[in-house]
């Protein structure tokens, strides 16, 4: 049976490296996408159709509203129904936008909070897709 895929959408190579290593060691295959690539016109729909990631670990960075808008747009268009784990360098700042329905995992550049994120990825991978 093929290993499930997790997409890590982030801006920071150090954070990506830590996340990739830890999520892979939890039994997943990691697909890395940089947010700048999405803004530059990367065909997200085609890539996700090809790799079919079970979970998307998406990092929302400052300025939060601008990047939150991009994520909302993706969720409403090309990534409808996908499971997300949201990360951010400042959980409190993003929480104002996200609301109470969704958990935001604060992850600093040293990757200190990785365990909670990996656990969230495991749980999200078990969840059924929403529509």
């Amino acid at each position: 049976m093929a290993q499930p895929v997790v997409a890590v959408v982030n801006t920071n190579p150090d954070v990506v490296e830590v996340l990739k290593a830890r999520i892979e060691s939890a039994g997943f295959v990691v697909l890395v996408i940089h947010i700048a690539e999405i803004r530059a016109g990367l065909d997200v729909r085609a890539i996700f159709a090809q790799h079919d990631p079970k979970v998307i670990v998406y990092d929302v960075v400052p300025p939060y509203e601008r990047n939150w808008r991009l994520l909302q747009h993706l969720r409403e268009t090309t990534l409808v129904g996908r499971q997300f784990v949201l990360t951010s360098p400042n959980e409190r700042a993003l929480a104002k936008l996200v609301g109470r329905d969704e958990t935001v995992y604060e992850i600093l550049n040293d990757g200190a909070e990785i365990d909670a994120i990996v656990q969230a990825v495991r749980e999200a991978a078990r969840a059924r897709p929403t529509s």
Binding site: T11, V15, V61, P62, P63, Y64, N109
Partner: protein
């Protein structure tokens, strides 16, 4: 006796620091064609085009022995400036704003493709301009602010070049005055055109406010409103050079006088003229008091800057002086700046900090005259500086060495 007095007067004038410093129109280049380098190119293009026009197009159509002919001349000069000169200056402004302003900050920080759209100026076209770009990495909020403000920054730097020349010469031409007004008050005009809702994406001031307010909200700090910007930017009207330019243009329309005086205060033989600038910067907003000095001292300006960032009050001081040293035909200009600003030059959007850091900049510019015929000459210019990461108008945000080279053209 009269000859002796005349010789003494000429000698005193020639030996005075101000007279010794004849400012050339400088065009400088650096690898990224930064905001500062681009502004020198735009200022020189403007000067050369105006100079060529002055030689080819008269300031009056008729001798003026009677009222009808005088009226015809006044009408001619008014229409010439509105329908011929102003569109050229507007085109130069939009070109400079897009290519050297937004484009300069984009080239300096990113490697993605950049595109420009520049329309024919009003009243012959829409007069708009836009810069499109794709970034090779996600920008920080400070970088987004720098890109949004870059266009207005570049026009302000061009205006400061025109003003410096006018202050050193003690006069300006009506065409320079027109360019000065259009470039100096670009920021105020842009801010004034921003409605209460902050405009659609693509409007520089609207984009700036959105990014600043998002940044401020993430820090738990108060944001800015268009009304607040409009009110604060009025400080930039405390500008005597702008008043002289306005008066000089009106006088030119009326009587065709092409020499606009730039009077200054005189304190013990030192000419002094202060002016205020209001800027949008990569960390927020900024008021700047430029103190221009000349006469008994070599042309110099001392600039005091105080700003607003989400959580702090950045400040800075800068000193620039022409002709601080000379040897063997070489002339050395120098500049030094010091500031306290948030760390705006980082490239990691995950790491946005608000506390102030100290930064410095030193710069030396050497120029040497060269003659390629008995009539025509120029000067070669090399500029080398070193700076910490931080914002100085026209300069790269990063720290390191900044080197530029170019030519100075003696335009009367």
């Amino acid at each position: 006796m009269r000859a002796v007095l005349l010789a003494a007067a000429i000698g005193a004038y020639a030996s005075s620091p101000a007279a010794a410093q004849q400012l050339a129109s400088e065009a400088l280049f650096d690898p990224d064609l930064t905001v500062g380098a681009g502004a020198t190119i735009s200022a020189t293009i403007g000067t050369l085009v105006a100079h060529a026009e002055d030689r080819a197009i008269p300031d009056r159509l008729f001798d003026e022995p009677d009222a009808p002919r005088r009226t015809a001349n006044v009408t001619y000069r008014f229409l010439k400036q509105i329908f011929f000169d102003a569109p050229q200056e507007e085109l130069l402004l939009v070109f400079n704003h897009e290519v050297f302003g937004h484009g300069g900050r984009l080239r300096e920080r990113f490697h993605g493709p950049i595109g420009y759209h520049i329309e024919v100026p009003a009243p012959y076209g829409g007069g708009a301009g836009s810069t499109s770009f794709v970034l090779d990495r996600e920008p920080t909020p400070y970088e987004l602010l720098a890109i949004s403000a870059g266009g207005m920054e570049s026009t302000s730097v061009v205006a400061s070049i025109v003003a410096e020349r006018a202050l050193v010469d003690g006069r300006m031409h009506p065409r320079d005055a027109l360019r000065y007004l259009i470039f100096e008050f670009d920021t105020q005009g842009y801010i004034a055109s921003t409605d209460a809702e902050g405009e659609e994406p693509g409007h520089d001031v609207g984009d700036f406010l959105r990014t600043y307010n998002e940044l401020a909200a993430s820090a738990g700090a108060p944001g800015l409103t268009p009304r607040q910007l409009r009110r604060e930017s009025l400080a930039g009207l405390a500008n005597p050079v702008g008043a002289y330019a306005l008066f000089g243009i009106a006088r030119y329309w009326w009587n065709g006088a092409t020499d606009i005086g730039v009077p200054t205060l005189s304190i013990g033989g030192v000419r002094y003229l202060p002016l205020v600038r209001y800027r949008l910067t990569p960390y927020g907003t900024e008021w700047s008091l430029v103190n221009a000095l000349g006469g008994r001292v070599r042309p110099m300006d001392i600039e005091l800057r105080i700003g607003r960032s989400p959580l702090e009050t950045p400040w800075g001081i800068g000193v620039r002086q022409r002709g601080v040293a000379r040897w063997g035909g070489w002339i050395v200009d120098a500049a030094a700046d010091m500031w306290r600003q948030p760390p705006i030059a980082g490239t990691d959007p995950r790491r946005v900090e608000f506390d102030l850091r100290t930064g410095t900049r030193v710069r030396a510019r050497v120029s040497h005259p060269v003659k390629w015929s008995s009539t025509y000459g120029a000067s070669l210019i090399v500029e080398v500086g070193a700076k910490s990461a931080g914002y100085v108008p026209g300069e790269p945000l990063r720290g390191g060495v900044v080197a530029r080279a170019g030519i100075g053209l003696p335009v009367p």
